[in-house]
C-alpha cells in the first residue's frame, strides 16, 4: 500500500506541476487576448463590465457606507480645527454672494425679455437623476467612478454627469443598476468646451493628472489664468454652459484647467438626460469622440 502510494505520488507530482504550467500559459494567453480584444472592440467588454458592476452593486453599496463614515470623521476633525477661519471666510463670501444674487435676478429677467424679443429657440430641458458613488477606481490607471443607477433609471452611455460644483465627466458604460463615469481628468476624456469670456472653443483633454489641458485652441486664442471654462454643447451630447473649471496656468505650449469639482468629496453625482430633438438616434451617437456607433 505504502509503496503503491509512493509510486502514485512520484507520478502525480510532475503531472500536477505540468497541469499548473499549462494553466499558467493558458491564463496568461487569455489575459493578453482579452486585453487586445478590449482595446480593439470596447463594446465586447462593456456589457461584461455592466453585468459585473450590477452584481457588485449591493456589496459595494454595503461596504461604501463605512468607508464614507470614516471619511466624514476625517472631515469633521478637519472642520473643527479651522472652524473660526472658515466662519470668517464664509461671512465675507456670503456678503459678496448676496450682492451677486440681486445682479443675477436682474440679469435673468432681462435675459428672459431679450429672448422673447428675439424669438430664441429654447434649449430642451434636461431631465436628471442623482446617484451615489459606490466605487472608485483605486489605482493609477484610470479615473472613473461607479454609480448605483443604470439603464433601469434611464442612465445611458454618453450622458453628462455633474455635481453642484460643476461637470464631473460622462457615462461610458451602463449596466441595469450601475453605470461607470469617466471623470474629466481621465486619460481618455475629451470634452468640447468654450472659454466663457472670449468664446474661444477648445477640447478639454484629461491626462490622469488633476489638471486637464485645453487642446485645439486657436493659435491667437486669448486665454488667461482665471478664465471660466464651460461646456460648449458641440456634438449635442452635453448641454451647453455647464461649468467645468477655471484656467489655472497658461504657457506657450499649453493651458491647464482646474476643475470645479472636488474629487475627494464625490459622493453623489447627477446624470443629465439631454437629447436634442431630431438629433441622431442613440445607436448612432458618438461614444468616444470621433467613434461612431
Amino acid at each position: 500500500m505504502r509503496a503503491y502510494r509512493g509510486r502514485a505520488l512520484l507520478l502525480a507530482l510532475p503531472l500536477k506541476s505540468l497541469i499548473q504550467r499549462f494553466a499558467f500559459v493558458l491564463l496568461v494567453g487569455a489575459a493578453i487576448t482579452i486585453m487586445i480584444l478590449s482595446r480593439a472592440e470596447p463594446r465586447l467588454v462593456d456589457s461584461l463590465r455592466g453585468a459585473v458592476g450590477d452584481a457588485a452593486t449591493p456589496i459595494l453599496e454595503f461596504f461604501s457606507h463605512p468607508a464614507a463614515s470614516f471619511a466624514s470623521l476625517v472631515e469633521q476633525v478637519d472642520a473643527v480645527l479651522d472652524v473660526h477661519a472658515e466662519n470668517a471666510m464664509l461671512e465675507a463670501k456670503n456678503a459678496k454672494l448676496l450682492k451677486w444674487q440681486t445682479v443675477a435676478a436682474q440679469i435673468s429677467l432681462e435675459n428672459e425679455e431679450l429672448r422673447q424679443l428675439l424669438h430664441v429657440v429654447p434649449d430642451p430641458n434636461a431631465s436628471f437623476i442623482t446617484a451615489r458613488v459606490i466605487s472608485d477606481s483605486g489605482g493609477p490607471f484610470v479615473r472613473t467612478v461607479l454609480i448605483n443607477a443604470g439603464k433601469k433609471n434611464n442612465v445611458r452611455k454618453g450622458q453628462a454627469a455633474i455635481t453642484n460644483e460643476g461637470l464631473t465627466g460622462r457615462v461610458v458604460s451602463a449596466g441595469q443598476h450601475s453605470a461607470r463615469i469617466l471623470l474629466l481628468t481621465d486619460l481618455n476624456s475629451r470634452i468640447p468646451v468654450v472659454i466663457e469670456s472670449s468664446r474661444e472653443r477648445a477640447v478639454l483633454a484629461g491626462d490622469n493628472t488633476p489638471s486637464p489641458r485645453l487642446e485645439f485652441l486657436a493659435v491667437d486664442a486669448r486665454v488667461h489664468i482665471g478664465n471660466r471654462i464651460v461646456t460648449s454643447g458641440q456634438g449635442g451630447i452635453f448641454p451647453p454652459g455647464l461649468p467645468v473649471g477655471i484656467v489655472s496656468s497658461v504657457s506657450e505650449e499649453r493651458a491647464l484647467v482646474q476643475p470645479y469639482v472636488n474629487w475627494d468629496r464625490l459622493e453623489y453625482v447627477t446624470v443629465l438626460d439631454y437629447t436634442l430633438p431630431g438629433f441622431l438616434p442613440e445607436t448612432k451617437r458618438a461614444g468616444r469622440i470621433g467613434e461612431l456607433r
Binding site: Q20, A23, F24, L27, I32, A67, D136, T209
Partner: protein, 172 residues
C-alpha cells in the same frame, strides 16, 4: 486515527478558502470610494499584498485560476484595462513560485524586504503595459507613490495575514 467527520472535513475545506476570500476582500477594498484627499489614484495595491503573501506561504490555496478570476474582477470593478492585473499578477505569482522557499522560516524583515523589491517591479510592469495599452505615457508619479504607500502599509497587513494564516492552519 479515526476518520474525519463530515463537519471536520467541511471545516478544513472552508479554512482552505481563507486565501481566496481575503484576496477577494482586498479587491473590494481597492474598488471602494475612500473619499480621502488625493487618495484614489494612489490607493495602495491591497491585492498585491494578498497575492504576495499567499503565493509565498500557501500557493496551493491560491492557484493561477483563482488569481486570474480575482484580477479580472479587480479590473472590471476599478475600470482598469481588462486583463492587465491578471497578466501582472500571474507573472508575479510564477516568479514567487520559484523564490518562495527562500522566504520560508525567514524573519518578517526579510519577507518585507522581498516585498519592497517586488512592489516596484509590479508597478513598473503595470505602468509599461498601461502606457502601451493607452498608447500614451501614463503619468508615472501615482505609480511611484502607490508603490511607496503599499510597501509602508505591508507590515500592518502582514500582522492580520499571519493571524489568519495561523487560524487557517489550526484545523489542518
Amino acid at each position: 486515527m479515526r476518520a474525519a467527520t463530515w463537519l471536520e472535513r467541511t471545516d478544513i475545506q472552508l479554512r482552505g478558502l481563507t486565501p481566496f476570500v481575503f484576496t477577494f476582500l482586498m479587491v473590494l477594498a481597492s474598488a471602494l470610494p475612500w473619499h480621502l484627499p488625493n487618495f484614489a489614484p494612489v490607493t495602495p495595491a491591497f491585492t498585491t499584498i494578498a497575492i504576495y503573501y499567499w503565493s509565498i506561504y500557501r500557493p496551493d490555496k491560491l492557484p493561477y485560476a483563482a488569481t486570474f478570476i480575482l484580477a479580472m474582477l479587480l479590473d472590471l470593478l476599478t475600470g482598469t484595462p481588462l486583463g492587465l492585473s491578471a497578466l501582472v499578477y500571474l507573472l508575479l505569482q510564477v516568479i514567487l513560485n520559484t523564490q518562495r522557499t527562500f522566504f520560508h522560516g525567514k524573519p518578517f524583515l526579510v519577507v518585507w524586504w522581498g516585498f519592497s523589491l517586488v512592489m516596484p517591479g509590479v508597478s513598473l510592469v503595470s505602468w509599461i503595459i498601461a502606457s502601451l495599452y493607452f498608447n500614451a505615457l501614463v503619468p508615472p508619479m501615482p505609480f511611484i507613490i502607490q508603490a511607496g504607500l503599499t510597501i509602508s502599509l505591508y507590515p500592518l497587513f502582514a500582522v492580520a495575514l499571519s493571524a489568519l494564516h495561523r487560524h487557517m492552519m489550526e484545523g489542518q
